[in-house]
């Protein structure tokens, strides 16, 4: 089966999954080399036609979990960082349909006691389609059970492997900015607002598309087929909006918990033991938006607990984000 057929097959599968389970992905994590990345739930609010968003991430690596979940500290003298600028745009096509695209640009900066490396390039990007299945019509008054209906957005997303991967023209592992695989996700985003509180749940299930590999880190090798394992991502967050003065400006604080799991990869149909990973993380954010809500500014922090059991075969990191978003009416 060639890559186009596989892509179409996966798109169909994703659509079926989405329709059947009211779930769809947005990878909560755009693909950087290690799976961290920009938030993909870039949605256009009802009053706007489009949203432009730009954010800056600083990700600091601090150890990793081995395949048994034991946390291992980084080497003495090492300093591993990744910086990302995420450019996002979302456009509403109709009252219920919208699409978004997020393209990160990645800088890797790795320093060990005996080696240092700098590299940069586009990262893997996410194209999403969203359908508003249910609308939250009552955010201020809750009198009946009907007022408790949340908003539900569903849709597929496609991870596009724009970043330099191990199977591309990379000289070494430090040059990697992407994973090298297309991925189709089914996403569902459920939100309920009872002012000033908001509770949201984002669930994604993703399937990578198998691809041929004929080189590793720039050197041609005996060809083989590889596919990464299925991925589940869940984020639950609770927000509180504080109204500043009488002008309508708001300051919204959120706390969140995220779970990410990826199954083992396969090579020529055989499973690669311990190639999957798991990570749990907590986060917080503060968003300021003006009275008309056209502009908003945010700061966020995603933190992994550097203890045994909070991850498997994955680096533990802190991600600090600053972003600005503009809604185009």
């Amino acid at each position: 089966m060639n890559i186009v057929k596989k892509l179409l097959y996966s798109l169909i599968c994703a659509a079926l999954i989405t329709g059947a389970a009211l779930s769809a992905p947005t990878s909560a994590y755009a693909g950087s080399c290690c799976g961290g990345g920009s938030p993909a739930n870039l949605l256009v609010p009802k009053y706007a036609r489009a949203v432009a968003d730009i954010s800056f991430d600083y990700e600091k690596y601090d150890g990793f979990w081995d395949q048994d979940g034991k946390h291992i500290p980084d080497l003495q003298g090492s300093d591993l960082r990744q910086y990302r600028v995420n450019m996002g745009f979302a456009y509403r096509f109709s009252n219920r349909f919208q699409a978004s695209l997020i393209v990160p640009y990645v800088w890797n900066k790795n320093t060990y006691s005996g080696l240092s490396s700098h590299s940069s390039g586009l990262g893997d990007s996410t194209l999403s389609l969203w359908y508003e299945a249910l609308e939250d019509l009552s955010t201020w008054r809750i009198k009946t059970a009907k007022d408790m209906v949340p908003s539900v957005n569903i849709g597929p997303s496609l991870l596009i492997p724009l970043g330099i991967s191990p199977y591309d023209d990379a000289e070494g592992s430090f040059d990697v900015c992407g994973r090298g695989f297309y991925r189709i996700d089914g996403n569902v985003l459920i939100e309920k607002t009872i002012q000033p509180w908001n509770l949201s749940l984002l669930f994604s299930y993703g399937k990578y598309i198998e691809r041929p590999v004929n080189r590793e880190y720039g050197t041609y090798k005996e060809p083989y087929d590889k596919v990464l394992g299925d991925r589940i991502s869940t984020t639950i967050s609770l927000s509180y909006a504080y109204y500043i003065g009488s002008g309508g400006d708001t300051l919204t604080g959120s706390v969140s918990y995220a779970y990410l799991h990826e199954e083992n990869a396969k090579i020529d149909g055989s499973e690669m033991e311990s190639s999957g990973f798991m990570k749990k993380s907590i986060g917080g954010s503060v968003v300021y938006s003006g009275t008309d809500s056209d502009w908003s500014f945010r700061g966020a922090w995603s933190h992994t607990i550097k203890r045994d059991g909070w991850g498997e075969s994955f680096p533990s990191t802190d991600i600090f984000t600053l972003g600005v978003r503009y809604a185009i009416r």
């Binding site: 890559i3 036609r49 489009a50 432009a52 990793f64 979990w65 081995d66 395949q67 291992i72 500290p73 080497l75 003495q76 003298g77 450019m87 745009f89 456009y91 695209l101 393209v103 060990y112 006691s113 005996g114 080696l115 586009l122 990007s125 596009i160 492997p161 724009l162 970043g163 330099i164 191990p166 199977y167 591309d168 023209d169 000289e171 070494g172 592992s173 090298g180 041929p212 590999v213 004929n214 080189r215 590793e216 050197t219 041609y220 090798k221 005996e222 060809p223 083989y224 087929d225 090579i267 055989s270 499973e271 690669m272 033991e273 311990s274 190639s275 990973f277 075969s313 680096p315 185009i328």
Partner: protein, 180 residues
């Protein structure tokens, strides 16, 4: 909404302009034949000499490593999650089946022998069948055209039998089983 449409066109142009081999990957075998009589990192070539310290301070050369062995395995590690998984897999599934093969983990990110020892200890590989080599100036990394996870098999004649990513270890097992 003219602005929005222009923005979309711009982004699409950026994406198309960035189209690399990842977007349409090839499965064609593009390996170039190597000259068997030459020294180099390719399969079939004579393995480059090396002389580095292990984490106990002993000097290890290609000749000493090959002594009385059917072959040796060089695994290049930067003590990352993937490296840890590969090395653990090797310990559990490969090394016990090949007692006549020497297994070497090459640390190419530590600047000193003591640093390599600390890294090996932190990752739990002290006292295992791996001999940890401190490639402090990345000579082996360069000579073997290696990176994280590169696995090299050298037979008793000093010829490279394998030089590729560890992946699931199946290829390593096949190559080691085929050593004379």
């Amino acid at each position: 909404m003219l602005f929005a449409r222009k923005w979309y066109v711009l982004v699409l142009l950026i994406l198309l302009g960035a189209c690399g081999s990842n977007l349409s990957p090839s499965g064609d075998d593009k390996r170039e034949p190597v000259d068997p009589g030459t020294v180099g990192p390719g399969v079939g070539q004579i393995a480059p000499d090396f002389s580095v310290s292990d984490i106990d301070g002993n000097t290890v050369s290609k000749a000493s490593a090959m002594s009385a062995k059917k072959g040796i395995v060089l695994y290049f590690t930067m003590w990352c999650p993937t490296c840890d998984a590969h090395m653990s897999h090797m310990l559990d599934n490969i090394i016990p089946s090949f007692p006549e093969v020497g297994f070497y983990a090459v640390d190419y990110v530590s600047s000193s022998v003591s640093g390599a020892r600390s890294a090996a200890a932190a990752s739990g590989f002290i006292g295992t069948p791996f001999t940890i080599l401190a490639d402090t100036d990345q000579t082996m990394l360069d000579d073997y055209d290696a990176t994280m996870g590169t696995t090299v098999v050298i037979d008793s004649d000093g010829i490279i039998r394998m030089n590729e990513d560890y992946k699931d270890g199946a290829r390593l097992k096949d190559v080691l089983s085929g050593l004379p």
